[in-house]
């Protein structure tokens, strides 16, 4: 495979295309941005007290502090749906056939989807954090810890988005893509310590939750933002998960994209 000499320019062109699409359907983007905020307010204000009481509130346990990092991860995960569907939709349309007959940087089309989603997710995370602080979230992170936390969240976004796109491309239709991505965008966050600590889960689910990637990532985020205690290896585990998911997602997605065309 020969390499185009304009990887940056081509990727930027594809990013512009995807951002334009997002602006053309503001309803869709607003939905993607609004959902996590609603989850934040719903769990934080309405169910929060009940959960907190059940989880031994009183002895210094602040449910909102516990919840917010989980909701952040959830926003990232639910945000991967739209690039996955977008990429699958692209593949069924003529314009991508055109791109594939042009001498452009091959990974650009999908990378454009990923970068577009990273930008959208950053806005969504900022909104969630804003509303969380409004209703009482009190992180005690230093500037350095904020930067690390932001870096981790972006890394998670990049890796999950690649993975979701790879899954989405296994399906021939946008509807199929949305079904196949649903488990990671919705189910995984629930089957982790997003809403309740591991100790309070039934043993089967707990075993799964303990070893799935989200848990390590949320733990690291809680540690960075709130100084929650954490095993020293957990941060590295979180990074390793991101890297592994990103690599598998990237190569799998590119392989699907190039399938059948001249190398």
């Amino acid at each position: 495979m020969s390499i185009s000499s304009y990887p940056m320019a081509d990727t930027a062109t594809m990013l512009r295309r995807n951002l334009r699409h997002a602006l053309r359907y503001p309803g869709l983007s607003l939905g993607a941005l609004g959902m996590p905020v609603i989850m934040m307010l719903l769990f934080g204000l309405i169910f929060g007290d009940t959960f907190a009481a059940g989880l031994g509130g009183g002895n210094g346990f602040d449910y909102l502090d516990f919840l917010t990092p989980g909701i952040l991860l959830m926003s990232i995960a639910s945000g991967t749906m739209s690039p996955a569907v977008g990429a699958a939709m692209d593949m069924s349309e003529g314009i991508v056939a055109r791109f594939r007959t042009m001498a452009i940087f091959r990974p650009a089309v999908l990378t454009g989807h990923v970068l577009g989603n990273v930008l959208l997710t950053i806005v969504s995370l900022a909104l969630v954090i804003g509303f969380a602080v409004l209703i009482g979230f009190r992180p005690n992170a230093s500037a350095g810890e904020w930067i690390l936390a932001a870096g981790l969240m972006i890394a998670v976004t990049v890796s999950l988005t690649w993975f979701a796109i790879a899954l989405g491309l296994t399906s021939k239709t946008p509807e199929g893509a949305s079904n196949i991505v649903l488990p990671i965008s919705l189910l995984l966050p629930f089957l982790s310590n997003t809403f309740i600590p591991l100790e309070s889960m039934p043993s089967g689910i707990r075993w799964f939750a303990e070893y799935q990637p989200f848990t390590a990532i949320i733990d690291t985020l809680r540690h960075l933002l709130l100084g929650a205690p954490m095993d020293s290896g957990t941060g590295w585990l979180a990074l390793a998960w991101c890297l592994a998911i990103a690599l598998v997602g990237y190569f799998w997605a590119q392989k699907s994209y190039n399938k059948g065309t001249a190398a």
């Binding site: 304009y6 003529g94 007959t101």
Partner: protein, 321 residues
Amino acid sequence: MNSSSLAIDVAGLRKSYGDKLVLDGIDLKVAEGTIFSLLGPNGAGKTTAVQILSTLITADAGEIRVAGHDLHRDPEAVRAAIGVTGQFSAVDGLLTGEENLVMMADLHHLGRREARRRAAELLERFDLVEAGKKLAMTYSGGMKRRLDLAMTLVGNPRIIFLDEPTTGLDPRSRHSMWQLVRELVAGGVTVLLTTQYLEEADELADRIAVLDHGQLVAQGTPAELKRLAPGGHIRLRFTAPDQFAAAAQVLPSASRDDESLVLQVPNDGSVQSLRAVLARIDDARIEVDELTVHTPDLDDVFFAVTGQPATNHTDEKVTSR
């Protein structure tokens, strides 16, 4: 033909989907700066051939050179030399016409100002200036087709593939599309176009290859192909049996169909020979119900080489009552 002046050189191209053989050993040679037409009915394999030659899908076997590059070894070099307008719309419906063109210019790295200039020029040339600010998904079929071709031209490709460029266009749009193709070739571009319309291939192509069920059943210039077909004739239809019999007598060379009262008189289609036939009919005061002049065209070729009539075509050139 010297191989260095070939824009497209294909030998033994094969492709199957599962156990369905779609292209069964195709050889094509397209000289630079010419229009080559791949003519065939639905399912003949035209789109598959274009998709392979434009690097979109891979062949199972065959030697393919496009713009002098081995397609298998260096597809990127081929991509840099070609432009493709596929059978189905390849515009981004969520972008405006102008944005589509600017996106193409960006992908050819023309630079900002040049991109805008080029987009404006193409919108003008393809009569899309007013529509340029509207989303492409709101365009009519003909407008989409024009935008599609305009997008293909942004990078000034040397070789252009057009898969059924006029299918679904009204007669006026079709003629302007033909005009555009001719202009492109006048500028030195090589065009490979597919069509189901014999008239279109006849009108545009320097060379025609007839594709049927994945095989090339004939290849040559329009004139060469027409020589494959049986000659032209005048067809005379009568309502009265006595008139029919009388005409058969004054036109002994005619072949007669007694049931439908039709005479076919061999004829080269020239005004002189037509006048001669009419004079004989007039002299005998014979009443003809309908007269049709039939010159051999690609329909006859198609029929002669595939054994099937071509689709969507009437062969009446002149009809009088």
